[in-house]
Symmetry: C2
Subunit: 189 residues, 2 copies
């Protein structure tokens, strides 16, 4: 059954949010943007989403001011996608939905990824506060680290999957462009 | 473009969450369940969602253990939908997405609804903590109250819309069945 993209007759704030981030794949694309994915091809390879769907979602998120297109740092030759402040403000929602999935549909062997406070490397609690120092940790101070349920990436893993097997600060580009034009891992912290 | 309901190849916790709550209308149905909507006809009238879609979503949420069907308190004659503990655990996600919509796509005149701590009636902050006493307020102690942007319901408003114009504790049934079988408003606090 095809449903319209807008929620006719619904004027509440949640409906307005869902008109922007409620399409299929949208929140997974945003999750990858928090993890530092920047380029179209990296999103496509990591998510396995059809390219037409990815293009539609990236265009919609850019039009809504959640993502922007910016020159790739260090090269200036190509455009990459990045979260705007409006996009970064979605972190509590992404974190809460991820935590709910971890709690009620846990992966074999435990969480695949855990979130830590960069200051003291203590895990965040269910409210996003540091279990070590009690701080409400801003997004820019969150580390995403492999959890016990994450299998080691195979030799054929795409570069994003391989980079995500390393501890990494949110919002920091996962991959950078070497002078040869080949992707290499960004700094790990 | 039709996309499968599951996220093939995606094993992260967020993808598992979105397979359950990421369908169109699902989070709005859950929002109404937090507000105390219990009956099929009330969801249908308040949301304006096609009945076949509503039936599909309620069945899916029940199968996933997010909602359950229970006898209506006080009558025992009919079944109503209620949030299970697994469903109640979605509150941080629903609240975060609502807060994001209020911040970046505000309604004319201000928020339509505000969330207050039942203990001291102070508003909750962006993290769901009470701005009066600092408590991380559990869902059962949250009041939803009309905000400055909520228009007074007209004489033809459906019963849910009319009841939601009153301050009300989350998870408490909005409408109860009087001995005549007619719906009446639940207790307001």
């Amino acid at each position: 059954m095809t449903l319209p993209r807008d929620y006719r007759g619904q004027t509440c704030a949640l409906a307005r949010s869902m008109e922007i981030v409620g399409e299929r794949w949208t929140l997974l694309i945003l999750r990858d943007a928090f993890y530092g994915v920047r380029r179209f091809g990296e999103f496509a390879a990591h998510l396995g989403v059809p390219r037409a769907v990815l293009a539609d979602r990236l265009a919609g998120l850019t039009e809504a001011g959640v993502l922007d297109r910016r020159p790739e740092p260090g090269t200036g030759r190509r455009e990459v996608y990045g979260l705007t402040p409006k996009g970064v403000a979605l972190w509590p929602a992404v974190r809460a939905l991820t935590a709910w999935g971890e709690e009620f549909h846990p992966a074999d062997g435990g969480p695949r990824r855990v979130f830590l406070h960069a200051g003291d490397e203590a895990p965040l609690d269910a409210d996003g506060r540091c279990t070590g120092c009690g701080t409400a940790v801003p997004v820019t101070d969150v580390l995403v680290a492999p959890g016990p349920g994450l299998a080691a990436p195979g030799p054929d893993a795409d570069p994003v999957t391989a980079a995500l097997a390393q501890r990494h600060r949110l919002l920091t580009p996962l991959l950078t462009t070497a002078p040869t034009g080949r992707s290499t891992r960004g700094s790990q912290r």
